[in-house]
């Protein structure tokens, strides 16, 4: 195969500095990007629809935005928000710890541990959260005292269960039991995603078993655990709206209770709740981004840029492009 002689000549013989020559050689020309009118039309349609939606949201009297403003930072709503945050935070941590233990049991060599873990996960993924909460709330009807001691042997401490189990404890225990079952699967998946060679290398170096897990396997597993667990965390934030079943008023419950006293404000109250949940989810997502970025170190050659870095790159790219086009 021979190349067309003309092209070969102009490509190879073009002097690099000949930018102001009347007819530029092919190599010095900027490649013109393909125009995409379809994409522009789709963008315009979406923008119009979005504007219409926002306009409706703002102007429709049904939403009563003035009442939204009144309720958004009311102490009763903020108290509810605090309950939501508190219950979520405790349950997220305890759920993850429980999930790690369950995942380790699930991956252990002992068939008993494996079976117990499997049954736990199976049970708590099957039972609706509401039922768990109802059972726990009324636990005192079944067991009046809880005691800590040798199994079937003497008790060291005995608790009056109804005194011990304040509403928030019941809510946290219920959500954690549930959360642990889901977290276990996320953790197990994460551990399995770690290359077998890592386990072998850690073993070959004689690293103690606990060290192997804490410093070698788990940090790598966290990379795939994080997105899964954050998903569950967002579910958890919203699952806290069920805690009124244990006589606890979270964000949603507070709004519901106020909606009964002020029935004209039900819609703005629901909007208040929606906006707060949006804020919570946003915060969790931002944290997720940075956590994932942290665990990505070493896994990729360069870290994904932060939004700020992206913005900076975009601006400097644009500047470069303008400069280039001015020069050409």
């Amino acid at each position: 195969m021979s190349e067309p002689p003309g092209a070969a000549v102009s490509l190879t013989e073009a002097p690099p500095s000949a930018t102001d020559a009347p007819s530029k050689p092919l190599a010095a020309q900027r490649v013109l990007p393909l125009r995409r009118p379809g994409r522009w039309i789709a963008t315009a349609v979406v923008l119009v629809l979005a504007a219409q939606f926002v306009h409706g949201l703002v102007t429709n009297p049904f939403y009563q935005w003035d009442r939204f403003g009144y309720w958004f930072l009311r102490p009763t709503i903020l108290d509810g928000l605090l309950v939501t945050l508190e219950v979520t935070a405790y349950s997220a941590v305890l759920g993850l710890l429980g999930g790690i233990l369950l995942a380790l049991a699930r991956l252990s060599k002992s068939p008993v541990l494996r079976a117990v873990s499997w049954i736990y996960i199976w049970t708590f993924r099957s039972i609706p959260l509401i039922v768990i909460l109802l059972f726990l709330y009324n636990f005192s009807a079944l067991y009046q005292t809880l005691s800590v001691g040798v199994p079937f042997g003497p008790a060291f401490f005995t608790f009056d269960e109804s005194r011990l189990a304040t509403d928030i404890v019941v809510a946290v225990v219920g959500l954690s039991l549930n959360q642990a079952a889901y977290a276990a699967e996320a953790v197990r998946g994460g551990i399995l995603s770690v290359d077998q060679g890592q386990h072998e290398a850690a073993a070959a170096l004689g690293l103690p078993k606990g060290y192997q897990f804490r410093k070698v396997v788990f940090p790598q597993a966290l990379r795939s655990i994080t997105p899964n667990y954050v998903n569950q965390l967002i579910d958890l934030v919203k699952a806290t709206s069920l805690v009124f079943y244990v006589s606890l008023l979270d964000l949603f419950g507070a709004a519901q209770t106020m909606g009964a006293t002020y029935p004209g404000d039900i819609v703005p109250l629901l909007l208040v709740v929606t906006v707060w949940y949006l804020i919570l989810t946003t915060v969790v997502s931002v944290v997720q981004f940075y956590v994932e970025r942290y665990f990505a170190r070493g896994a990729t050659r360069t870290l994904p840029p932060t939004p700020l870095q992206k913005l900076r790159t975009a601006v400097s790219d644009l500047r470069d492009r303008v400069r280039r086009e001015a020069a050409v």
Binding site: L134, F152, S247, T257, T261, I266
Partner: protein, 340 residues
Amino acid sequence: MRTHLTRRSLIRGLTAATAVATLATGLAACGGDSDAATRTDDAAGTVTVGRLSNGAATETELKVSEVKSISALLPADIKKSGKLVIGSGTLPSGAPPLGFVGSDQKTLTGSEIDLARLVSAVLGLKPEVQRSTWENLFIGLDSGKVDVAFSNVTDTEERKQKYEFASYRKDDLAFEVKKDNTWNFDNNYENLAGKTVSVGNGTNQEKILLEWKAKLAKEGKKLTVKYFQETNSLYLALNSGKIDAYFGPSPNLSYHTTQTAKTPQATRIAGQFSGAGETLQGLIAATAKKDSGLAKPLAAAINHLIDNGQYAKWLKAWNLSGEAVAKSEVNPPGLPLTNS
């Protein structure tokens, strides 16, 4: 003794085997107090009713003191504890004006709560109100978490199998529809044909409505019954036309109608009905666990309040004078098991 031992060892095994105890012990210190927590009463001897009612009541001060002859009727353990744990099944939404969070947006108030406080004062007990969901109210009575429910509970023969009652108010039910809806109940269930009506799950009015539904079905007519977890979503459905009417306790419906009168979601009352069926006046009653021995002192305390006129003042404060009863009875006849 034998069962006691077995249960204790069972509990010990359970403790060691599950994470529940560990988690619970670890968290015992971080439990905050919730809205359902204890509400202490006003200065000794004075009970203020109709507080923070958001316009549903006129605040009225009543002087009440312990009546020894009545408090002597109390079961020993309650007398010894010095407090009366009162259940209010009003979570998550309140049920104004019967039991709801008041206009300070944090205190539980309501006519039922006020009567409970009056009764506690007569009995010389400190009232302690616990808020829960409607279902948990009854489980709370069963488990002993709660001594007595003042929560618009209707006395029915079915409930009598597990609970004992001291009646204090007429049980009037009503239909609520959108303001522009011209439909009326007119004391005739046949008017419900073709309608979609919502009712509280597990309530007395549900029983009544379901029987009408069965009757209509026999005549080849259809009544659709819809349930909502709580009243806010129910009212959203009423406004959007998903349901035609709400069949519920008359005081609640009146409150809602008054409160929303000037809003786009205005409603009106479209007929009333007795909570015990066509032949019997339904009664609302203080509810305690069966054989707890509480119904008798409760009824005596309520009758004391009726006799000294404070009962009437309480009802008047809450604009519920139409629901007054002549006297409190222990376990009066209620909605029959089969209301045919």
